[in-house]
Amino acid sequence: MPVIKVEGLSKVFGKNTKQALKLLDEGKSKDEILKQTGSTVGVNRASFEVEAGEIFVLMGLSGSGKSTLVRLVNRLIEPTEGSVFIDGEDLARMDKQGLRKVRREKLSMVFQRFALFPHRTVLENAEFGLEVQNVDKEKRQQKATEALEMVGLGNYINQYPGQLSGGMQQRVGLARALANDPEVLLMDEAFSALDPLIRKDMQDELLDLQESMKKTILFITHDLDEALRIGDRIALMKDGSIVQIGTPEEILVNPANDYVEKFVEDVDRSKVLTAEHIMKRPETVNFEKHGPRVALERMREEGLSSIYVTDGKRNLKGYVTADDASEARKNEIRDINQILKTDVPTVSKDTSMHEIFEIIHDSPVPVAVVEDGKILGIIVRGAVIAALAGEGEVNVENA
């Protein structure tokens, strides 16, 4: 069962909500509806599901309805139409008390501009969620301190938010959300107010925390790089509608329409970076010397499911898979040529990231980078995504 399930959710701001919805059905655009009715479409029939432990990113330009959508998920805003289910429970059906319970126990929110309480210390901010649940003081301070330590602010608990830098304040916001130990974190552009370096640190930190916490995270951003780095799946929004949902790869490789494509094109690294930047030293076997046995051994050592085969001069011949190799060993086949596969996906040194992506997307093995028939390196799928998302592991020496 998905932790968050959003079904046909719409929000129209203004008076003529019924009329606006009708116009939406007729396929009118957000602008036309604003002109005709004076109402603003915030979110238009959004549907998606977020599974437990997943980081689901909502991405879109300013004004595309991201904040509205996330506030509908914890019902800070009443929907005009549609429903939200948290752990299968319909939020709209809940009375005030039920809603409070869900907010206290399951959902925590991190705000775009921190929204810390200036009259409370860092610790008092972090314990707010527990305080409203009337957890006793000792226990809530202990939990809040733990959360603050987790985000690296253990030494600042008695400061006031105004005394901290932006990055530190955002950590307090995160700690405040974590102290409740919620199932779900709603993060509305949580890192947008930070400068790029701190922002990257915070992203890393979130990913690290997520390793151990395994929360379900609905993360909002208007930045594709950020989305690619941290998202398990990404939903792209435009004018209140979700135009595409998919893994980072799917979005990059198969943009659903021009809008998404434009977004994706803006990932400028994909144009600047080429194959040689992200290739790794290849693990190969020499068919003149080695048999399936050696190939299998190598694959075991390196934890691979396939390995490239060359001749003595590193000319690429093909590859063998681990399955075939172990089959061959059982059947006492000595000659590696009998299990050699030659449908090798290859690119050249200066193939662009975009093209690599399309090749690697439906290839079962890493892509080989070749020059004059010789293998220079291999590219694994993860490296492409990492590079597109701006992670550091780019081989600059190769360039």
Binding site: M109, F111, F117
Partner: protein, 281 residues
């Protein structure tokens, strides 16, 4: 052409309304008048019976700490209060202070909840705002008339008139202060599952505190001015000195009593303002 109907009997209507209220609610007004009047008298006497030296010292010490360990206000308080004592107006001062203190406390106790109500409900706001406008623009003297009708003369009608005149700023600024709290902070408290009263007491009131205190400061100043006017209906204190000097055309004594009021006003004003800035840091 404008005389198409006779003069509307507004004055008569108000008059009979007041009579009706006085008669109907005398069961309420009379005990207030008596009990509360007794209490006021007792309170005033108690204040006046504390040796002036002690009062002056206490005020000076408070002034020192309230103004952030500076000497200015403390020195001013000592000299000012001594001067009033020296002019033989100490008892009047204490009575005026008692009236101001009681009516301000009542104004705040009544005003803050009304302000909260206004901030929470658009309907309440649109009903109460014109009433507040009316209360503040009506000349202060007018309130003395029904006050006398309800509570006859003395301290109690003075406080009643002062309540009507001085409460609006507290109400207005409480409303304003709460409405000004950043939406994100309100959202944050809701998102973590606050109840309405948790939101109010943990977020909205603390955030609105300095605005509310600005209103309270105005309320205190207005009640001081009203308490002086209320001397016309028999409220005791410095105001009565001014009034009797006026009636007898005694410029000197009138001026001295006036100075006493100014000194009291300055001390009270600085106290409430400093309390505000200190806590609002």
């Amino acid at each position: 052409m404008l005389d198409f109907i006779d003069k509307l009997p507004i004055a008569e209507i108000i008059k009979s309304l007041t009579v009706w209220i006085t008669d109907t609610f005398s069961f309420l007004f009379d005990p207030i008048k008596n009990q509360f009047g007794d209490f006021m008298e007792w309170f005033g006497d108690k204040l006046a019976s504390i040796p002036p030296v002690i009062v002056i010292l206490i005020v000076a010490i408070f002034a020192f700490f309230v103004s952030g360990k500076k000497y200015g206000l403390a020195v001013f308080s000592i000299i000012g209060l001594w001067l009033i004592y020296n002019q033989g107006l100490w008892e009047e001062l204490m009575l005026t202070f008692a009236l101001v203190a009681i009516s301000s406390v009542l104004s705040v106790v009544i005003g803050v909840p009304i302000g909260i109500l206004m901030s929470k409900s658009k309907t309440a706001e649109s009903i109460i705002t014109p009433i507040l406008d009316f209360m503040q623009t009506m000349p202060a003297f007018v309130y003395l008339i029904p006050a006398v009708a309800f509570f006859s003369i003395g301290m109690v009608p003075g406080i009643f008139a002062s309540l009507i005149f001085a409460t609006p700023p507290t109400v207005r600024l409480t409303n304003l202060g709460i409405r000004q709290v950043a939406t994100e902070l309100v959202e944050a408290s809701e998102a973590f599952g606050s109840t309405g009263s948790q939101k109010l007491f943990k977020v909205e009131l603390p955030m609105a505190k300095s605005t509310i205190m600005a209103g309270v400061n105005q309320t205190v100043m207005l009640s001081l001015s009203m308490v002086v006017i209320a001397s016309m209906i028999g409220a005791p204190g410095l105001g009565r000195e001014v009034l009797s000097s006026l009636q007898r055309a005694q410029v000197g004594t009138g001026f001295v009593a006036g100075i006493g009021i100014v000194i009291l006003a300055i001390i009270i004003d600085r106290f409430t303002q400093n309390l505000n800035t200190q806590k609002g840091k």
